[in-house]
Each structure stands twice: as structure tokens, then as C-alpha cells.
């Protein structure tokens, strides 16, 4: 039985459909990320769950109880905001203690719980500091401790790491996950960073324009994107347009052998999805043929263990990730042969024109 359910949520702001029929079922103790570009509705959905907004249609059900119209201070949920949410006139310890004071717990019990929680988030000896004396990362840890202090049934996080430095972000997201698993608390997490979502969640729901494009485990989302938007949004993907032919796909006049084309009707317009790491790259000798596309390396992007090559040729535009050592032998300007694996490619039916995903909607750091 689902612990947290969002049933057919609709929310309009004037003529804009912020939420267009959102359905989510989350089991107890599970961690779900709402992932999407800004404006997709993920924060709206979270705020409705928290009670800071009401849906025009639909329900929010927690542990069997309909809380859609319950005021936010009675929902027994803990929320971590993006920034600035710590009360400036209180120390870290006092902030964490706040929810317990409201619930009139007695002083010694409160004190102990606050100490335990600060210990849990790694701030055991920072309790007496004021928010303005804490770094961004530390502030968010306090915010987390504060939300957990009241032992909420659901933990809500609204892009808690967006305002922090990259290194702190990676560190903190792992800690959040660790704590969440330790406490077994049902968690709803909102982010626009796909790497973040994929690394810490049990489930990921990709949202776009008020709708859930696809929901599944991180591995599923990565290896089998269900829609062109998801394919573009999660990780980097080569998208080759084409038409299904006997045993493969016709891409701009070239016939690519694609195993997955077997169960599709001839003539269907499709997208061939190939991950950069699946593309084989070698020095070119000859003009290619079959699944091998020939072009020049126009850019090299150093990504650490792997280097990303952009290969452009006559009707050819692909991205390939190669081990950095190998990339040294293929500098910019080298003529190379990029081979699309017959088995490693996935096909998606192209029902309409590719969604024009605006540059700023794409996740950062691609």
C-alpha cells in the first residue's frame, strides 16, 4: 500500500497549467526525486504536498489519510527549503529545537534530541552558532536536522543543494541519502540536477510542463528513456532521426543496422538513441559504411577519465566518449570512424517534432 499518494493533481496559474494530472504512489521509506527543468511543476507539486498551496483538482493522501485541505502546520511533514530558511535570531540548536518547543516537549528530552540530530548531520559542536556564522552547506545540514527533529512522516526537500558549491553538493547529497536510509523516512525530493536525482533516489519521476514524462528506477531512466524529452534530459544522448527499414533505420540516406528495429513497422519515424560511451571510435581509413560514420573531431572536452569527442562530417553529427588515453591520439582535426552499435541503440517513436527543449531547461554541466 502506498504511503504517500498524489492523486490526479491539477493546478492552474491563470492560463498556465502548472500541474496537469500528476499521479504518484510512494511506498513507506522510499526516496523519490521529482526531476525536471524550471517551470515543469515539480516545486508546485511539492508545495501542494506540504500544504503551502492547494490543488484545483486531486488529492494528497498520506498513510491512508486525505490531507489535501489540512493546513501546513498540521501535516506532520518536515521540509527543507532551498535557502534562507533558518531563523536568524536563533542558534543552530535553537532552530532544531523549534518544532519540539511548539509541541511542548520537556526541556531535557528536547536537549537530547537536538544533540542527537546535530550529531547525525555532522554538526555536533556547532550548535551554538548563529546562521550567519555558518557556511551554506552547514546551514542546510541544520535545516535538515530541524526538519527531522519532529519525526515527520514525510520528508520534503525543495532543491536543497542548488545554492551550494559543487563539491559540497556531492558530499551533502550522499549524507542526505545515508540519513534517509538510516531513519527509513519516506522522502520526496525536488531537483533540476539529473546526476543528483539518479545518484540518491529509489525512484525518479521526470516532469515536463506539468506532466510526468516517465517514472522509474534510476537505471531504467538512464538506459531506457521512454520519451525524447527524457532521453535528452537524462545524461547525454545521441539522437539520430530516421525511418524504419528492413533490419534497421534509414538515417539521412545511410542504412544503420539496428536490432531494435525488428519489431517496428516499416516507415515509422523514429529516434535512434545511442549513449556516447557506446560509440566506438577509431582512426578513419576509408569512407565508412554500414554503421560506421566518418567525420572530423571538431572539439574535445576533457571529463576526467573520459574525453568527449564531437565528430562532425557529411550528414554526421555525433558525440562519443572515449578513454582519455585514447583521445590523446585523436586530436581536433583527426578524421575518425564512429561506429553505432547494432545492439546498443534504442529506438523511440517520433510522434511529433522533437520537443524544442530550451537551452536553459537542460540540466547544468552537460
Amino acid at each position: 500500500m502506498a504511503f504517500l499518494e498524489l492523486q490526479n493533481l491539477h493546478r492552474d496559474f491563470g492560463t498556465v497549467k502548472a500541474l496537469d494530472g500528476i499521479e504518484i504512489k510512494l511506498g513507506e521509506g522510499e526516496f523519490l526525486s521529482l526531476l525536471g527543468p524550471s517551470g515543469c511543476g515539480k516545486t508546485t507539486a511539492l508545495r501542494i504536498v506540504a500544504g503551502f498551496d492547494r490543488p484545483d483538482e486531486g488529492r494528497v493522501v498520506v498513510d491512508g489519510r486525505d490531507v489535501t485541505h489540512v493546513s501546513p502546520n498540521k501535516r506532520d511533514m518536515g521540509m527543507v527549503f532551498q535557502a534562507y530558511s533558518l531563523f536568524p535570531n536563533m542558534t543552530a540548536a535553537q532552530n532544531v529545537e523549534y518544532g519540539l518547543r511548539i509541541r511542548r516537549q520537556d526541556k531535557s528530552a528536547r536537549r537530547k534530541r537536538v544533540d542527537d540530530l546535530l550529531e547525525l548531520v555532522g554538526l555536533g559542536n556547532a550548535g551554538n552558532r548563529y546562521p550567519h556564522q555558518l557556511s551554506g552547506g552547514m546551514q542546510q545540514r541544520v535545516a535538515l536536522a530541524r526538519a527531522l527533529a519532529i519525526e515527520p512522516r514525510v520528508l520534503l526537500l525543495d532543491e536543497p543543494l542548488s545554492a551550494l558549491d559543487a563539491k559540497v553538493r556531492v558530499q551533502l547529497r550522499e549524507e542526505i541519502r545515508r540519513i534517509q536510509l538510516e531513519l527509513g523516512i519516506t522522502t520526496l525530493y525536488v531537483t533540476h540536477d539529473q546526476e543528483e536525482a539518479l545518484s540518491v533516489s529509489d525512484h525518479v519521476a521526470v516532469m515536463y510542463r506539468g506532466r510526468i514524462e516517465q517514472m522509474g528506477s534510476p537505471a531504467e531512466m538512464y538506459s531506457a528513456p521512454g520519451t525524447p524529452f527524457v532521453a535528452e534530459f537524462i545524461g547525454t544522448m545521441n539522437r539520430l532521426e530516421g525511418t524504419v527499414v528492413e533490419g534497421g533505420v534509414d538515417h539521412g540516406g545511410r542504412r544503420l543496422t539496428i536490432a531494435a528495429a525488428g519489431d517496428r513497422p516499416r516507415g515509422q519515424r523514429v529516434l535512434v538513441l545511442v549513449r556516447p560511451e557506446s560509440v566506438e571510435v577509431t582512426q578513419a581509413n576509408g569512407s565508412g559504411g554500414g554503421n560506421t560514420l566518418v567525420g572530423d573531431v571538431v572539439t574535445q572536452t576533457f571529463l576526467g577519465p573520459v574525453t568527449r569527442l564531437k565528430i562532425v562530417g557529411d550528414g554526421v553529427d555525433v558525440i562519443a566518449d572515449v578513454p582519455t588515453q585514447k583521445a590523446l591520439a585523436l586530436p581536433v582535426g583527426t578524421r575518425v570512424a564512429a561506429t553505432v552499435p547494432a545492439d546498443g541503440a534504442q529506438l523511440l517513436e517520433l510522434k511529433e517534432d522533437l520537443p524544442v527543449v530550451a537551452e536553459e531547461e537542460l540540466p547544468a554541466g552537460r
Binding site: G51, N73, G78, M79, Y84, F87, N89, Y98, H132, A143
Partner: protein, 276 residues
Amino acid sequence: MAWLATLPFFAYTILFLFAPAGSVLVGAFQGKTSGYTLENVRTLFHSPYIDAFKTSIEVSFVTALIGAVVGLLVAYAAIRDGTPRWIRSGLTTFSGVAANFGGIPLAFAFIATLGPLGIVTVFFRNRGWDPTAHGISLFTKTGVEITYMYFQLPLMILVIAPAIDGLKREWREASSNLGASQLQFWRFVGIPVLMPSLLGAMILLFGNAFAAYATAYSLTSGTVNLVPILIGAYYSGNVLDNPHLAQAMAFGMFVVLAAMMVVYIPLQRRAARWAK
């Protein structure tokens, strides 16, 4: 050597600010004929001078307190969610003007309202209840306080509005999320965060009323015993003939105001810190 360029500025402030201020200081301790004495300052502690100080301080305190509380409530009412934007802009604009609409014109405006022939007075009189017959008059300490509110209230609104803006919405939402009611939010977070700004504003209002001269002068023509009025009386040749007494009174005002400033500065620092 770069500081040389600031010389004209400092020379000017020395000439027109520090020297006169120092002059007051020196004069306060000078005897009528010659030499230095504490007599002037000692006299301040007797009637009518000490009464003037008491009245001035009382009037300033009352208008500062009421101005602060009412100003806060009015400003909050105008800024909070749900109130149309034009109300806030209108109030801020008007406050900007009204804070400067003091002195002589203001006194007349209140005489026209609450004076013996004022429209409000006449309004009640026509309905059978004559305020003047009951001894209620504008030209009293209370009347001065009511009039002073006309520039105290706008000043408060102008000063506290940025502080109210600084109350981040995240704090209210976090507080609610943690189970607190609206009242609890104000008690534990809202008011404490506003407190330095509130106290700072009160001090500003106090100083504002304490130093006011023109309004009281025009309103009461000397019937209410306030320190600025008493000082002015010397210069119109009425009462005192000892200039050093007037200087001692000015010095006394300076002391009161300096004491306020000593409290004000750390408060401002605190308020600025929490605004981050």
C-alpha cells in the same frame, strides 16, 4: 596624501558643525560675567527647566512608542500578502511627503481640525457635545502629541517597511511546516527578528520629537513647556537674559540625544546582521 582632497569637506564641518557644537559646550559652563561655572547646569535641575525636560522627554517617549506600534501595524497591513500593491505604494509615497510636512503648516492643519473652530470640534459641537466646554483643548501636551504623530507615523512607516520586507517568506513557511501557528511565528521569530529595527526606529522617533521646535512653537505659542520652546524664548528676548542658560539647555538636549545615539548604533548593526 590622498586625504588632502577631503580637506574642504572636513574644514566645512568643523566650521559649521563642530565649532558651533563646541561653542554650546563651552558656553554652557560659562558664568554670566566671567569665568567657568556649573551654575547653569545646576539651574537646569530646577523649575521650570527640569519640568521642560520632563515634558519634552515624556512627549517624545509617548509619540515614539505609539508611533512605533501603530506605524508597525499600519506598515504591516499595507505590505502583507493580499493587500493590493497600490496601497503600499500610496502609503510609502504619502509618508515620504508627510514626514517632511511638519512645522508651521502642520500646526495650522491641526488647528483647523481640532482647534476651537476646527471641523472636528465643530462637528461634535453641532451634535450637542462641546469639547471646549469640557476643557479639551488642542493647545496642551496631549494636543502636541496628537499633532506630532502626523510626522512620527510616516517616519516609522518609512523606516520599518524595509525591515518587514526583510522577513523572508521561507521563515514563515518553515515555522508553519514545523507545526507553529501564526501567533507562535510572530512570538518566536517575527518580532524578535524585527526587534532591533523596532528599537532603532523608536530611538529615531524619540530624537525626532525631542528636537522638534517649529510645530510646538506654532501650535502653542509657548503655553506648553518644552525645552526647544524655552530655548527659543531666550532668543525672542522674552524670559531669560542669561545666554549661558540657553546654551546649557542646548547642552542638556545634546546629552539626552547622545545617550540615545549610543544605544542606537549597536542596534543598527544587529538589525543589519540578521538581514543577511
